[in-house]
Amino acid sequence: MKISRLLVISAFSLGLSVSSGCSYFKSGKDGSGDGTQASGLNDQDEFGDGISSANRLKAPYNQAYYFDYDNFDVKKDDIESINVQANYLVAHSSAKVRLEGNTDERGSREYNVALGWKRAKAVAEVLKQQGVNSTQIAIVSFGKEKPKALGHDEASYIKNRRVDLIYEAK
């Protein structure tokens, strides 16, 4: 049995939330626009480097470290670039980084936050082993909430299993 029924679509199609929804992506960069709410994601393409290109071996530069499926080990190839950032952080004690853990879309949301945390923590441990003070590192895990690639395939998943290292102070 299949009953299909469309309920009321629009009684008040000009509700404020609708108009604010339209203006959202156009509002000013500082979000001050009409005072209703936030602007769009202002992040520039912080990394510029696709999945294939290596992280820069210069500091201070934001970095992206990729992880294998169901894996939380920092890749050998990334250790050198993490160490370059670590050396900079050790030499500049007022510099601060944020490590953002991310996962692909499979599985439960909060469990993915925990998994993203585990990845970010793995990068943090490498930094700390190099002598970086833990007060210079903030960890946030977005789990699967902030995907870089929006596809539902392995090509997207590879890009989303990732820790971003972002300088909050240099």
């Binding site: 049995m1 469309l6 936030a38 769009g40 439960s108 949301r109 936050v113 977005f142 909430e145």
Partner: protein, 426 residues
């Protein structure tokens, strides 16, 4: 110092008059033996001018979308008494009649009656005087009464569902926390942010929502008053502040923090601010959910390898494993009776919603399509709302606890995820 928050909490009252449907509702599977019902047009309802449509249409949609009733059309209109023999010959089991009168400037007087054809009795009759703009609410209330009279279960037509709406445009994303009536009508936006919003959780009195917001690139748990839109920070420790779950008495919040360096289950006393950690170790513990008696919590943990459901006693902190079937079980919650849990369950490549009987341990998959997640039980324990993915688009769906009734709630725009069914609100 953080940048100024690019975000505002929006008062529910602010949008009190908006009544558009963000979610449509589509019954995809009802029970085979759905009960035949006749909802007769109420006398005088054609003279009532409201934007909500006809009261009997709202009631009819409610009952039909419950999957447990089928509507029988008839040319009859409402009368004081009905001819049971005629209805019996048409195999109709229940008949609803009524009338609506305009009573004063903004007021309506609504009378309705429920008849049981087989016992040939009037089961219920009541007159209500309401403001005109409360007609939709009264219609859901009438649906609740009819549902309870014929099924024995409390109706959920007056409840609400909170969820997260995500709209993407290129690399930009807009996250909104919204609350809608359980039929998808009357969506209110409580919060808009460019940062992810997660894990809405209702207070047991239905007045507040707790949720996770990542504003300023940091996770924090907020409490927001649904009526006023006022909100406050409940938890903003370094690291994870996640998976808030209100205790049944409304006094405590279970949550996930990383104070030990690992995600662990904590319980915060909301009034005093005192914090207690319930789990320890190097594993990932998350997604706490209270037992109805408040004496224990179930949670997701990878302490046995992959994610499985465990139960921790709030008093002695003893942990026992609950799920053994399947390689991945997560985001579990109890039915109101506490004898069953519903959860995200992986079976092969598929993420489905499943129920596990706690006595026998038997797991029953309720859904069978690909990427399901975030199950949330209706307060009567009969329906589960969950997030699903249809043609690459996130939307909500519902399934009955016996798997027999299925509904889809596609969104008008964007992706809808993380539904949380409200408690009973009246």
């Amino acid at each position: 110092m953080f940048k100024l928050l690019r975000l505002v909490a929006i008062s529910g009252l602010f949008f009190a008059s908006s009544a558009f449907a963000v979610l449509e509702i589509e019954l995809t599977q009802g029970v085979d033996n759905a009960m035949p019902m006749a909802i007769l047009p109420f006398v005088g309802q054609e003279h009532v001018d409201t934007t909500d449509g006809k009261l009997t249409d709202i009631v009819g949609n409610d009952l039909k979308n419950s999957g447990r009733f089928k509507l029988v059309e008839s040319g009859e209109v409402s009368k004081e008494a009905i001819d049971f023999a005629v209805w019996k010959s048409q195999k109709v089991e229940g008949v609803v009649t009524g009338q609506i009168k305009v009573a004063g400037r903004d007021q309506l007087s609504v009378t309705f009656r429920i008849f049981d054809v087989y016992s040939q009795k009037k089961l219920f009759e009541k007159e209500y005087t309401i403001k005109k703009d409360r007609m939709r609410k009264l219609a859901h209330h009438i649906s609740d009464i009819i549902y309870q009279q014929f099924t024995g279960d409390r109706g959920i037509f007056s409840t609400k569902i909170a969820y997260i709406l995500v709209e993407r445009q290129g690399r930009a994303a807009k996250y909104s926390l919204q609350v809608t009536d359980s039929d998808g009508i009357n969506a209110h936006t409580l919060l808009v942010s460019k940062f992810p919003l997660m894990s809405p959780s209702w207070s047991p009195d239905g007045r507040n929502l707790a949720y996770v917001s990542f504003e300023g690139h940091r996770a924090a748990i907020y409490l927001q008053d649904i009526a006023t839109g006022n909100r406050k920070i409940l938890s903003k420790f370094p690291g994870i502040n996640g998976a808030p779950a209100w205790s049944p008495d409304g006094k405590k919040m279970a949550m996930v923090l990383t104070q030990t360096g690992y995600p662990k289950i904590y319980v915060l006393d909301i009034a005093s601010g005192s914090l207690e950690r319930l789990t320890d170790g190097w594993y990932l513990d998350t997604e706490p959910s209270w037992s109805p008696d408040g004496n224990s919590l179930i949670f997701t943990s990878n302490r046995g390898g992959g994610p499985q459901i465990y139960r921790v006693n709030v008093e002695n902190k003893k942990v026992e494993r609950v799920t053994f079937s399947g390689s991945y079980n997560a985001r579990a919650s109890f039915t109101p009776k506490g004898d069953t849990i519903v959860m995200l369950h992986q079976d092969g490549e598929m993420f489905s919603i499943a129920a596990q009987d706690l006595q026998s341990g038997r797991v029953t998959p309720l859904t069978r399509s690909g990427l399901n997640e975030s199950p949330s039980l209706a307060p009567n324990g009969r329906m589960v709302v969950y997030g699903t993915n249809s043609n690459g688009r996130g939307m909500l769906a519902e399934v009955s606890i016996d798997g027999r009734v299925k509904l889809l709630l596609p969104a008008g725009k964007g992706e809808v995820q993380e539904p949380a069914w409200s408690p009973f609100l009246n």
